[in-house]
C-alpha cells in the first residue's frame, strides 16, 4: 500500500558563511509516520527543519506539502500549512503567562482575547493529554520540564498536523522524557505525522518507522527502523566510523581532600523547605563524585554554592584547606575550580563573541595568552585551534560568532574551555546534554582523564548509566538533602531509584 506524502523536501541546499549546512538533501514524510532525523552535532538537522517552518529559506531546492509546491517565507506560512515545531532552544517569552505564550501570534484571535475562556480551553487540553500546567503562571517561574509542556500545548492548541520535534527530550529528566513520549504517542495515534530529532537511540527505536541520517549536511542513509539490528549500526552511519562504547579508566587512587562541604544550607525564597539542607561531603583528588537525583532537587544550587554563584546561609565550603564560603566566583576560579553550568545559554557562552574568544575567556588574563595587559593574538589563535581540534568543535573558523554554532557545538565549546582550564577541581552539571553519541563518549573520556591526572570532579547527571560508568562514588539528592553516598559499584538501579524518590534507607535494607 502506497502511503500519501505529507511533506517532501527536494534537493535542499542551504549555505551559511563558511559552511554548507545542507547539501542536496531530500526528505520525505508520509502520513501518520514518524521520521527520526539523526546526525552528529552540526550535521544540519535543525537547519533543515528551520527551513520547513520558515525561519530560514533554502538557497536551492523545493518544498511540497500535501502534494502542493509551497514557498514558506515565514512561520506564519508554515502554521497555515499545519506545520508546528518544538525548537531545540525554547521559544517562550519568560515574562508572559503560559496562556499568553500559547496564544501568541495566533491569527484569528479577537482584539481583546477572552483570557478566561482561553485558560479553560488550555486546562481542557492539558487534561486530555495529561500535561499538567497552570495557564496563569509566568513562564519564567516554570521548571524546564513544565516549559517543555507549554511548548507541546502550543502545538496542540494550534492543531498542528505535522509536528517537528527538535531534541524535545534533551533537557528533560528520564521521567519527564517518558511522560513526554507517552503524550507524543497519543498525538501520533490521532493521525499526526512527525519528524523527530534526537540523540537518544532508545527513542529512535521506540518511535520511528523510518530513520534518516545526515552527515556534514548530506543525507547518508534512509532506512526503515525495523531493519536496524544493533545500535552501533546507527552510530556508525552518523559518525562515518565505528564508535567505541568503552571508556578507559585508570585504577581508583584517591589522594588528599580538595573540596569539603560542611552542613551547607541555603534557605529558599519561595518554599519553607530548604533549597539545600545540611549538605556534607568531600571530594578527593583523583576522584569523581556523582550526584544523582531527579532534576530540581538541589543539584543546580549545589553546583552554584561551590562555584560562588549562590550564597549559603549556614555551613562552610572548604577548598584545599581554606575557607571559601560565600567568596566571589573569581576568587573561586582562582582557587582552581572550573564549572560547566547547567544553564549554558545564559552562563556558558557570549554569543556575539567568536568561538576563539569564548575558548580563551578563562585564560586570556594569564601569562599563557597575554603579556603585560596585552593579549597575544597569535597565542590565542594557536590555543583556540588546538582546543577546536581536540574537542572536535564544528565551526567554520575560530572567528565565527559562537551563537552561529549548532546546539551541540556550543556545548562542546564550553566543555573545552572548562576542562582545559581545570586546575584540579571540576564541577560538571549535565555535561552530556544535547551531545551526539561520539561527543558524549569523548566528553566522558575527558572527564575521566582529568580524574586520572589527579583532579577532583563533581559530576551532576540524571543518567544512571553515565554515573555508574564514570563516577567513583555516587551521592543521591532528594529535596535538597543528600540521601546517601555509596561506591559506584554498589549502586544498583533500584537502590538509586528508591533514594531518588525520597525513600529513606532503612536498617534492614542496609544489612
Amino acid at each position: 500500500m502506497e502511503k500519501t506524502l505529507v511533506v517532501e523536501m527536494k534537493n535542499i541546499t542551504k549555505r551559511f558563511p563558511g559552511v554548507v549546512a545542507n547539501e542536496d538533501v531530500t526528505l520525505q514524510l508520509h502520513k501518520g509516520e514518524v521520521l527520526a532525523l539523526l546526525g552528529e552535532n552540526g550535521a544540519g538537522k535543525s537547519t533543515l527543519m528551520n527551513m520547513l517552518v520558515g525561519l530560514y529559506r533554502p538557497d536551492e531546492g523545493e518544498i511540497y506539502v500535501n502534494g502542493k509546491h509551497v514557498i514558506i517565507n515565514s512561520p506564519q506560512d508554515s502554521m497555515a500549512l499545519g506545520i508546528g515545531m518544538i525548537h531545540q532552544e525554547f521559544m517562550l517569552v519568560g515574562n508572559l503567562t503560559v496562556a499568553e505564550n500559547i496564544i501568541l501570534g495566533l491569527k484569528d484571535l479577537p482584539t481583546v482575547p477572552p483570557i478566561s475562556e482561553i485558560n479553560e480551553k488550555i486546562i481542557e487540553l492539558s487534561k486530555k493529554y495529561d500535561l499538567k500546567v497552570d495557564p496563569t503562571r509566568l513562564v519564567e517561574t516554570l521548571t524546564v520540564g513544565e516549559q517543555q509542556r507549554v511548548e507541546i500545548l502550543k502545538l496542540l492548541y494550534r492543531g498542528a498536523d505535522i509536528l517537528i520535534l527538535d531534541e524535545p527530550t534533551a533537557v528533560l529528566t528520564p521521567k519527564e522524557s517518558q511522560e513526554l513520549n507517552k503524550i507524543l504517542k497519543k498525538m501520533l495515534s490521532e493521525g499526526k505525522s512527525a519528524i523527530f530529532i534526537t540523540h537518544k537511540m532508545i527513542e529512535v527505536l521506540e518511535f520511528s518507522e523510518t530513520l534518516m541520517v545526515l552527515r556534514k549536511g548530506k543525507c547518508v542513509g534512509i532506512k526503515p527502523t525495523a531493519s536496524i539490528k544493533e545500535l552501533s549500526e546507527i552510530a556508525n552511519l552518523m559518525v562515518g566510523r565505528p564508535v567505541l562504547f568503552e571508556l578507559e579508566k585508570g585504577p581508583f587512587k584517591p589522594g588528599k581532600v580538595r573540596v569539603e562541604l560542611k552542613n551547607v544550607s541555603v534557605n529558599s525564597k519561595t518554599h519553607t523547605r530548604k533549597t539545600l539542607d545540611s549538605i556534607s561531603f568531600t571530594i578527593r583528588s583523583g576522584e569523581i563524585l556523582g550526584i544523582a537525583g531527579v532534576a530540581g532537587n538541589g543539584q543546580q544550587p549545589l553546583s552554584e554554592v561551590i562555584t560562588g554563584l549562590m550564597r549559603v546561609n549556614s555551613g562552610s565550603i572548604i577548598i584545599d584547606g581554606e575557607d571559601y564560603t560565600n567568596k566571589t566566583p573569581l576568587q573561586i576560579i582562582k582557587a582552581g575550580v572550573s564549572h560547566i553550568p547547567a544553564d549554558r545559554g545564559r552562563m556558558g557562552i557570549v554569543g556575539d563573541m567568536s568561538v576563539g574568544e569564548n575558548l580563551s575567556m578563562k585564560k586570556y588574563r594569564t601569562q599563557e595568552l597575554s603579556n603585560h595587559h596585552m593579549i597575544n593574538k597569535s597565542k590565542v589563535r594557536q590555543f583556540a585551534s588546538n582546543l577546536i581540534q581536540k574537542f572536535v568543535i564544528k565551526t567554520p573558523t575560530q572567528f565565527t560568532s559562537a551563537k552561529f554554532l549548532s546546539g551541540g557545538n556550543i556545548q562542546k565549546t564550553i566543555l573545552a574551555r572548562e576542562i582545559n582550564s581545570c586546575k584540579g577541581i571540576l564541577i560538571a552539571v549535565y555535561p552530556s546534554r544535547g551531545l551526539d553519541v561520539g561527543a558524549i563518549e569523548s566528553v566522558r573520556q575527558n572527564i575521566i582523564a582529568q580524574r586520572d591526572r589527579g583532579s577532583a570532579v563533581l559530576l551532576v547527571s540524571e543518567e544512571l548509566d553515565e554515573l555508574r560508568t564514570v563516577c567513583d562514588r555516587i551521592a543521591v539528592m532528594f529535596e535538597g538533602r543528600i540521601m546517601d553516598i555509596m561506591d559506584a559499584q554498589d549502586a544498583s538501579t533500584e537502590k538509586i531509584g528508591l533514594l531518588m524518590a525520597g525513600v529513606e534507607r532503612s536498617e534492614e535494607c542496609d544489612s
Binding site: L55, S74, P75, V93, G94, L104, K107, T111, V112, G351
Partner: protein, 323 residues
C-alpha cells in the same frame, strides 16, 4: 494664600508642565517595549514644537498645528526606524544623531518659517490663541482635586490615553505582540509575528506622541517658539521610562513627581527662597531628585525581582536568519 490654595496652584502648574513630558514618556514606553531605544526624542519633540507653532501661527488653527506636529514627530521617528531596524545601525548612536539633527533643523527653521515682517523669524512671536484651560463645572472648584479639572484639552486627552494605553498593552492581542517582540524577538518570529513591522509601527507611534508632546509646549504651556525650548524634556522622558518600569500605568506617577518638583522649584524661587538656597541649586533640584529617585527605584526593583524590568531585547536589532 492658605496652604490648600498653594497645593492646588502647585498641582495646576505641575499638570501644565507635565503634559508634554507625559506624551513623550508614554510614546517612548511604546517604542522601547518593542525593543527599540529612541534617544532621538529630544530632537523629535523640538521638531514637533516648531512645526506645531509654525503651522498654527500661519493658519490660526490649533488643531492643524497639533496634527502637523504629530506627523512631523512620526516622520522623524520613521528615520530612526529605517536606520535602526532596516539598516540595523546602532540604536544609541542613531538616536543621538537624530537629536542633534532635529535640534539643529528646528532652530534653523525657526529663523526661516516666520512672517516677512519679522525677518522670517519665529522667535519672540505670540499666537493669536493657545490651548486654553477648560473648566469642568463644579468639579474644578473642589480644593486640590479641582486642579485636575481645570486643564487644557491636551491634558484631558491624557486622562483617556494613559489608562487606554495600559489596557492596550496588557489586555489586547496587539499589546501581547508588542511585549513579545521586545522581550524575545526570535520567539515572536517563530510564532509568526513580523518583528520588524511591529517595531516600525511602535517607533513611529512613539514619534507621534513625541510630536504632540512638543506641540503641548509651543501651543499650550509656553505658547511661543524659542531655540531649544524643550530644554531637556526629551531626556527626562527617557529617564522616566525607566522610572515607570515600561508600564503606561506608572508613567503618570513619574511625570507628576518630576513636574511637581520643577513647579515647586519655581514657586520657591518666586517666594524668595533663593536668598536661602542659591538659585542654581533650585534649578538643578528636579534633575537631581530624578536621578536620586531612579537610583532608589532601580535598587528596589533589583531587590524585589532579581532582574530589571526592561524589555530584554531593548537595543538589539533583529533578523530572522541570525540568532
Amino acid at each position: 494664600m492658605n496652604s490648600l490654595d498653594l497645593i492646588t496652584k502647585l498641582l495646576a502648574a505641575t499638570l501644565a508642565m507635565g503634559t508634554s513630558l507625559t506624551y513623550a514618556t508614554l510614546g517612548e514606553v511604546f517604542t522601547e517595549k518593542s525593543g527599540v531605544l529612541n534617544l532621538g526624542l529630544e530632537g523629535t519633540m523640538l521638531m514637533g514644537a516648531l512645526s506645531g507653532f509654525a503651522v498654527t501661527f500661519h493658519t490660526q488653527s490649533l488643531m492643524l498645528g497639533v496634527i502637523i506636529a504629530m506627523l512631523t514627530g512620526g516622520l522623524f521617528s520613521l528615520i530612526h526606524a529605517f536606520l535602526t531596524i532596516s539598516l540595523r545601525s546602532n540604536q544609541v548612536v542613531t538616536g543621538l544623531s537624530i537629536t542633534m539633527f532635529g535640534t539643529g533643523l528646528a532652530n534653523f527653521l525657526g529663523k526661516r518659517l516666520g512672517p516677512v515682517e519679522n525677518n522670517l523669524n519665529l522667535v519672540g512671536l505670540n499666537l493669536a490663541a493657545k490651548f486654553e484651560n477648560i473648566q469642568i463645572p463644579l468639579l474644578h472648584k473642589i480644593p486640590v482635586i479641582g486642579a485636575f479639572f481645570d486643564v487644557s484639552i491636551l491634558t484631558y486627552l491624557l486622562y483617556i490615553l494613559l489608562p487606554l494605553s495600559w489596557y492596550f498593552m496588557y489586555k489586547t492581542k496587539h499589546g501581547l505582540t508588542l511585549r513579545s517582540v521586545g522581550e524575545a524577538p526570535r520567539t515572536a518570529a517563530a510564532m509568526g509575528i513580523n518583528v520588524n513591522k511591529t517595531r516600525y509601527i511602535y517607533t513611529v507611534l512613539g514619534g507621534f506622541f513625541a510630536g504632540v508632546g512638543g506641540a503641548a509646549l509651543s501651543l499650550s504651556f509656553t505658547p511661543s517658539w524659542n531655540d531649544s525650548m524643550t530644554g531637556g524634556i526629551g531626556w527626562i522622558a527617557i529617564a522616566l521610562v525607566i522610572f515607570s518600569a515600561w508600564n503606561p500605568a506608572r508613567v503618570a506617577i513619574g511625570t507628576l513627581v518630576f513636574g511637581g518638583i520643577t513647579s515647586l522649584q519655581f514657586f520657591l524661587q518666586a517666594a524668595g527662597f533663593k536668598m536661602v538656597i542659591p538659585v542654581q541649586f533650585l534649578a538643578i533640584a528636579p534633575y537631581f531628585i530624578t536621578v536620586v529617585t531612579l537610583i532608589i527605584m532601580t535598587i528596589n526593583s533589583i531587590k524585589n525581582k532579581g532582574s530589571f524590568a526592561s524589555p530584554s531585547a531593548l537595543g538589539t536589532p533583529f533578523a530572522i536568519d541570525e540568532k
